[in-house]
């Protein structure tokens, strides 16, 4: 099960935080900082997985952004690694060459994308075509 999804830039600014567990606000802040400290020190030769408390982080870096998914230790690493990429491809398509600023100015839309693809801590929809079709329908609405 996914415990949370984070998108952070190299400086540690959070561009998306989606929580699937109930945490206190101060605990969330602590988790965000810890994850940032954990993934930013790793280089390209390292694995995309790293142990984190009693969970693990599966992450991938895209330009200056780190996409991190926190999952249970026995979850399938590669499946979540590619779930990240699938998500990024959808964002890229939806925002026409997504960049960090798109996520800032359209933060409320990013949540919609997440809800289409991940729900209740599980993968909901994996077809990019289906997700994008649904998102296009939604954006055409008032």
């Amino acid at each position: 099960m996914i415990r949370f999804i984070l998108i952070q830039n190299r400086a540690g600014k959070t561009r998306l935080a989606k929580w699937f567990m109930n945490f206190h606000d101060d605990e969330k802040q602590k988790l965000i900082e810890e994850v940032h400290a954990l993934v930013t020190v790793r280089d390209a030769k390292h694995t995309n997985f790293v142990e984190f408390r009693n969970f693990k982080i599966v992450y991938r870096r895209y330009a200056g952004l780190y996409f991190c998914i926190c999952v249970d230790v026995n979850d399938n690493n590669l499946a979540y690694l590619e779930a990240i990429h699938n998500f990024v491809e959808v964002l890229n398509e939806f925002f026409h060459n997504v960049c960090e600023l798109d996520l800032v100015f359209n933060f409320y839309k990013v949540y919609s994308v997440v809800d289409e693809m991940f729900l209740a801590g599980e993968i909901r929809e994996t077809s990019q075509i289906k997700v994008l079709k649904q998102l296009t329908t939604l954006t055409s609405l008032e």
Partner: protein, 925 residues
């Protein structure tokens, strides 16, 4: 600024730009405060704010909140947006409550009403929004409120696919947060299972996650999913990637669905039905074959997706653990990955192989890769990969390769990362003891270990060396010899001085005839280290000197000189001073025979399991679940005592007995727990039952207490669900951090009890108490007790406490009243031998009628009068509620005051239950 779409909120974009342009934190704060004032005024003044304005302001508030500021208004406006009939307004409303208001209760009813309206809407987009909201913030109240609406959406024929997907995961959320409030009608089971067959792969993808959770709750009820999962999997695996246009990801058909299906199947043993089983084996075979095909794309996404499925298939193969050909093929495949260019793959291969090493079918196959794994240890750049290599070496180690593996690990240790050294030291120590044929070899290894990694040798490790030496008299003289040699090294680690000091004090006489190690030489050598050591070690060495006085009377006056020396006799360290004074006196006043008695060599330690395993698990609590350590590795261990006071104490024990849990009775019963930081999980539950267990008959108790922590419980049962509250009190003067508490049901219990505990705060301040609520549902009658495991850091030392969690079957009994006729009618109906259990036992307490009556009532069932002809006897009845059935039980307790005995007879409608209840009750009277 990026291009904005038609629906964009211009004011929001301007505001975000402003914030981004702020040069300082203060400027940002000023801008935010200005905006907050503005919004507040708008909300207050302008009653006629239109939907667009409202949406824009609520969205701004959300943005401000996400920047890390508190938002304490605008909730009502957000909730108002929910009833808008415009998608964009509704969406912002839902988003706001999902992100900000998830724990607020004030407007709960209003929100629930709005959600209900949307769930019943004809517009699937609105239905979906409402479902997504519940999936994000659903709680007990929502589970109750929508217990019919959501399942209906899931199984109804005319629901859109997208809505079904959300409904499935929405149910999953409610099931996780509040399993007992969500009652799924058993008539729906078949239809839920059939979602696996849904034409739309997205529906199947979402539904598997729900079914996986339901299977964990009632495996038998959902057994039908095995067949469907296997056939769905088979259809995907054997198809070509072109068959699933939308769901093909980089030439791999539906990888995520495959992974989920393979995980679902890991909830069950291998299928019984031979045709399903052979179909599943074909699937697994096909997946393994595909891994050998050339890649269809150079993109890493392609190989990742393919391997995600492959690794999950291997997990299933390991889980089934019965097809040796598949296991060996899996092992060979992983062996190939060990050489792969991708670090990820090498890492995952090492991880999976750890599991394979524990299967008897593949253990030998794994061993073939020993050399590669050792190379990984030497050449991998990522420490986490090297860590996995260490784990695997540890897992594949057996008697045949122990010497090599231990040697390689030792060599690597010299250059290993600091972060993993301590763990490696433990592993080397465990392996070399476990597979030692010759204990001289063991000692050589251990001393070498201390020499090259002294700083990382924890106390448990060197205590254990001493335990082994003390208990094996065949190695004692060898130990003395090599300890003496080790001390001769110019730079000698303090841990080495401790070990050598201890061993020479006990067995120095065994090498004293050798002219190279006469008593005086031994003494001088040891004393040359004395001044370099910490006070604790000096204390230990002083004790060694004292032992020398007994072993070697000829050097007594040398030692007395040392003891008399100001640096000891008048040491600023109290302990040193005391030892010097007392030892000096002892050496002066005692006759040789008295000395010989006082300073006798240490008796053997009781043979218990090595504390090292416990230590290893403390370090890595996750390994328990992974099964990478051998299964026998939990047991009682007494802390090793060398010289009683050389063992550092856990903490200064603040003996506060007044109990922090004011709401509970004062502690009188610590009976449940097996004390100390060391776990004792192998003790059968029955032995804990012997203790005084108040929670059996009352609704609250202290379930654990030591000098650091007190844990109390309160419980209240309605039918098959017990609401519990746990109170964790920190009795110490330090904060406890990284606090975690876990109650686990293993083995049969997994399907008998369902725990649902809310998350717990990670820190307990000094002298503070935190509360954790939760529910424990009884799915089936049960016998064992769950295990409770608590870990935390105290004064930066990791602590772990394990004990049995006292939830007993009788907690789910509901009283039943009846008259005499009825009672005996039912009694006679339960006449099968398996339904009755009887026990005669002596009275433990004074045989007072009132007390017995009270205890029986406290146990949960009724204590009826006027049933039995003999008014001294007790009779009564109760119903045990589980989620699936009700078990009637009747009892009769007959005291015999002359003989001071009782006869207890219990009859229950379900086999085995009567016996269980007798066991619980028999020592209570």
């Amino acid at each position: 600024m990026p291009t904005m779409r038609g629906d964009a909120m211009r004011g929001l974009a301007v505001f975000i730009s402003d914030i981004r342009n702020c040069k300082s934190r203060e400027a940002e704060l000023r801008r935010i405060n200005k905006e907050l004032t503005n919004i507040r005024q708008r909300f207050r003044a302008d009653k006629t704010l239109d939907g667009y304005q409202k949406k824009k302001y609520v969205c701004k508030l959300l943005f401000i909140f996400l920047l890390g500021h508190d938002i304490d208004f605008g909730y009502m406006e957000a909730v108002n947006l929910l009833s808008s009939n415009k998608y964009t307004e509704k969406q912002i409303g839902y988003l706001f409550i999902s992100v900000i208001m998830n724990s607020s209760t004030e407007m709960k009813q209003l929100i629930i009403q709005n959600i209900r309206n949307d769930l019943q809407s004809r517009n699937p987009i609105f239905v979906n929004l409402a479902l997504q909201c519940v999936a994000n913030i659903g709680d007990r109240e929502m589970a109750v409120a929508f217990t019919n609406d959501i399942p209906r959406l899931l199984i109804s024929g005319d629901t859109l696919d997208a809505v079904k997907q959300s409904a499935a995961l929405c149910l999953l959320r409610l099931h996780r947060t509040s399993p007992d409030s969500l009652q799924l009608n058993t008539e729906w089971t078949a239809r839920i299972i059939h979602l696996l067959n849904d034409q739309h792969l997205g529906v199947a993808t979402a539904a598997v996650s729900l079914i996986d959770a339901l299977v964990k709750r009632s495996p038998d009820e959902y057994k039908g999913c095995i067949n469907l999962a296997v056939s769905r999997l088979s259809r995907i695996v054997t198809s070509s990637y072109t068959d699933f246009q939308d769901y093909t990801y980089y030439f791999v058909p539906a990888p995520w669905l495959c992974v989920k299906l393979l995980r679902l199947l890991q909830n069950y043993p291998p299928p019984d039905d031979p045709s399903i089983r052979s179909r599943l084996n074909e699937c697994l075979d096909t997946i393994l074959n595909k891994a050998q095909e050339p890649l269809k794309s150079k993109k890493v996404q392609h190989s990742n997706a393919r391997n995600a499925v492959l690794f999950e298939a291997i997990n299933l193969i390991i889980h089934m653990d019965c097809e040796s050909s598949l296991l060996v093929r899996a092992c060979n495949q992983l062996g190939q990955f060990l050489q792969n260019r991708e670090t990820n793959l090498r890492y995952l291969a090492l991880e999976s192989m750890c599991l394979l090493a524990t299967s008897e079918f593949s253990h030998e196959a794994v061993k073939k890769h020993q050399e590669t794994v050792i190379n990984a240890l030497k050449s991998e750049r990522d420490v986490s990969v090297r860590q996995r290599a260490v784990d695997l070496l540890y897992a594949m180690c057996d008697r045949s390769n122990a010497q090599d593996i231990v040697q390689e690990m030792l060599t690597y240790l010299e250059t290993a990362d600091y972060t993993i050294r301590e763990e490696m030291v433990l592993k080397i120590a465990i392996l070399s003891e476990k597979y030692a044929v010759d204990y001289k070899w063991y000692l050589d290894i251990m001393l070498k270990l201390i020499r090259i990694a002294g700083d990382f040798v924890s106390e448990e490790v060197w205590y254990r060396v001493i335990q082994v030496v003390v208990n094996r008299n065949d190695v004692q003289s060898y130990a003395a010899k090599i300890a003496f040699e080790a001390l001769q090294a110019p730079a000698c680690h303090e841990n080495m001085v401790k070990v050598a000091g201890y061993i020479l004090g006990e067995y120095g006489n065994l090498i004293a005839l050798d002219p190279r190690s006469t008593p005086l030489i031994q003494f001088d050598l040891l004393h040359s280290k004395y001044h370099l050591c910490s006070p604790t070690t000096r204390c230990l060495i002083l004790s060694t000197y004292m032992k020398f006085v007994n072993l070697f009377p000829e050097i007594k006056h040398h030692i007395q000189d040392i003891l008399r020396h100001d640096s000891n006799y008048r040491s600023s360290d109290v302990e040193i001073q005391q030892r010097a004074t007392e030892y000096l006196k002892l050496s002066e006043v005692c006759s040789p025979t008295v000395l010989a008695t006082v300073l006798e060599i240490m008796p053997p330690y009781p043979e218990k399991q090595s504390p090292l395993l416990v230590r290893l698990k403390q370090k890595k609590p996750l390994m328990e679940a992974e099964g990478a350590v051998e299964p026998t590795s939990s047991a009682t261990t007494t802390p090793v005592t060398v010289y009683i006071d050389d063992v550092p104490k856990l903490a200064d024990t603040a003996q506060q007995q007044n109990g922090l849990l004011v709401s509970l009775d004062t502690p009188e019963s610590n009976g449940h727990y097996e004390d100390s930081t060391f776990s004792s999980m192998t003790k059968p539950a029955t032995s804990t039952v012997q203790s005084n267990k108040k929670f059996l008959l009352k609704n609250s108790d202290i379930i654990f207490e030591n000098e650091l922590i007190q844990i109390g419980i309160k419980g209240e049962t309605t039918k098959s669900s017990m609401q519990i509250e746990l109170y964790y009190g920190n009795k110490s003067n330090f904060n406890m951090t990284n606090f975690s508490s876990n109650i686990s049901c293993t083995g049969e219990l997994e399907s008998e009890l369902r725990m649902n505990m809310e998350p717990i705060k990670a820190t307990i301040d000094s002298r503070a108490q935190i509360k954790q609520s939760g529910t424990i549902d009884c799915l089936k009658d049960f016998r064992d007790l769950p295990k409770m495991s608590i870990t935390f850091y105290y004064n930066s030392m990791p602590q772990k406490i394990d004990f049995s969690f006292p939830v007993y079957l009788n907690k789910y009994i509901e009283k039943a009243a009846m008259d005499s006729n009825n009672f005996f009618l039912r009694w006679r109906n339960l006449e099968k031998p398996s339904q009755e259990f009887q026990k005669i036992f002596p009275a433990k307490f004074p045989m007072i009628y009132e007390d017995c009556h009270q205890k029986l009532e406290g146990f949960g069932w009724s204590s009826l009068t006027g049933i039995d002809v003999n008014s001294e006897n007790f009779c009564g009845a109760g119903i045990i509620h589980t989620t699936t059935q009700q078990i009637g039980c009747l009892y009769r307790l007959e005291p015999n005051k002359q003989a001071k005995m009782y006869r207890l007879t219990i009859r229950a409608s379900r086999d085995g239950v009567a016996k269980r209840l007798v066991e619980l009750l028999e020592d209570q009277f």
